[in-house]
Amino acid sequence: MNGDLYQVRVNPRKTLLSVLREDLELTGAKMSCGYGVCGSCTVLLDGKAVCSCLVLAFQAKGREIVTIEGLSNGDELHPLQESFINHGAIQCGYCTPGMILSAMALLAENPNPDEYEIRRAIAGNLCRCTGYVKIVEAIKAASEKMVR
């Protein structure tokens, strides 16, 4: 996960989300709906966005996991993180980690998405604060920066 190998002993009932938050104290992924509709628990599993509240921890064994904590490089923010800040795409911040990771998965597959493709990719990440406009702008701007 995030470039490092972790060995964790867990109760098979535990979801990946609860292992991240409780066993590994990585609280970037959030618990909100608990049944895979809000996306606040989104992490990347083998490069694909998934709801970690739906993934049982043992299923993540041997797979590559990326959480929000893995994006910055020391003090250097990932272009998506910077873009979200610069475009006012963060209000309460609760949806933000999941939003950024969904965007990251999109840009890895489609480096130059149009607005529709961006909105479709984040359709599984709900935001109660922003109304999504600034989030879409931030992702578009980041995509342009990342291609360069």
Partner: protein, 299 residues
């Protein structure tokens, strides 16, 4: 949701191993692929298995293939995302790719599987009516043997299927579409772009292009009853008919009578019935357009 009762899990590498595990833990074990639906049921304590048999790692359940003349074969543990993005399906059965792309969100599509979706049997799910209109056959395997079932017989009631306790759904087979055939699927989600269907309509038609006559038709409706249903009376009225507006209006009315939707927070039963009429018309027209466009294609 942590629970005091211990949960055992197995990660078999073959279908046979998985079947054996189901038989030897009679009634206490459940199959898990992604677990998108199962996790929710377990969290709500609607299902409390003692053992989980994970089939995620079984390679022979995760594939998309085409057999010339026969049709398409999809492993039950194939994710919706893989079905959506499959260039083979986009070429041979684009409707299926399109429908798989409508399931949930990107996160759900990346982890959930076609087999899991079918076995969960949510009456408002998207793939079931589409697969019904395409006359899919389902392959079920257990330690006692294997059987094939037409999808029409698969859904018994809310969240209940014909899968026996020790059986695993292994494969979904979709026959190749003949020439001059087309299909359409409409998922009606009035509340927002991403939602469970309030009404889902799938229509398949095969026409006789010269006579502009309908040779075969299948109409499947989702989210308007305890299971997805075929509108058999509407199909019967349409088969053999010439294609014209009044015929389409007539079958839309028949389809409305054949469904028994419930009212819920998303829509009333009356509204759902009304919308069945609207979308059967639209889907039939779209399927006919595609059937006409297909006339030059060989199977």
């Amino acid at each position: 949701m942590a629970d005091a009762a211990p949960l055992g899990y197995f990660e078999p590498e073959t279908i046979e191993e998985a079947c054996h595990l189901l038989s030897s833990h009679r009634g206490q074990a459940r199959i898990i692929a992604g677990g998108v639906s199962l996790s929710v049921l377990m969290g709500q304590k609607l299902m409390m298995p003692k053992y989980l048999v994970s089939i995620k790692g079984i390679k022979s359940l995760n594939f998309i293939g085409h057999e010339p003349g026969a049709g398409l074969k999809i492993g039950a543990a194939t994710t919706h995302a893989d079905i959506e993005k499959s260039s083979l399906l986009q070429e041979k059965m684009p409707l299926l790719s399109q429908v798989a792309g409508m399931v949930g969100s990107a996160q759900v599509r990346n982890w959930g599987t076609i087999g899991g979706n079918l076995c969960h049997a949510d009456p408002a799910a998207d793939l079931p009516p589409a697969l019904m209109a395409l006359c899919a056959q389902l392959r079920l395997q257990s330690s006692a043997g294997a059987r094939t079932m037409p999808i029409d017989k698969f859904f018994l009631d809310y969240f209940q299927t014909a899968v026996a306790e020790e059986e695993i759904l292994t494969e979904i087979n979709i026959p190749q579409m003949p020439p001059s055939a087309g299909a359409s699927f409409i998922k009606f989600t009035p509340r927002s772009k991403m939602d469970t269907a309030v009404v889902a309509v799938a229509v398949y038609v095969q026409i006789e292009p010269a006579a502009e006559r309908i040779v075969d038709v299948k109409i499947a409706l989702g989210a308007v009853g305890p299971t997805p249903i075929r509108a058999l009376k509407a199909e019967g009225a349409l088969k053999g008919q010439k294609i014209d507006q009044s015929t389409i209006e007539q079958i839309a009315e028949l389809a409305k009578e054949e469904c028994s939707p419930a009212s819920d927070v998303k829509a009333s039963a009356e509204y759902r019935k009304e919308m069945v009429g609207v979308f059967v018309k639209r889907a039939t027209k779209e399927a006919l357009e595609r059937a006409r466009a297909n006339r030059t294609q060989a199977p």
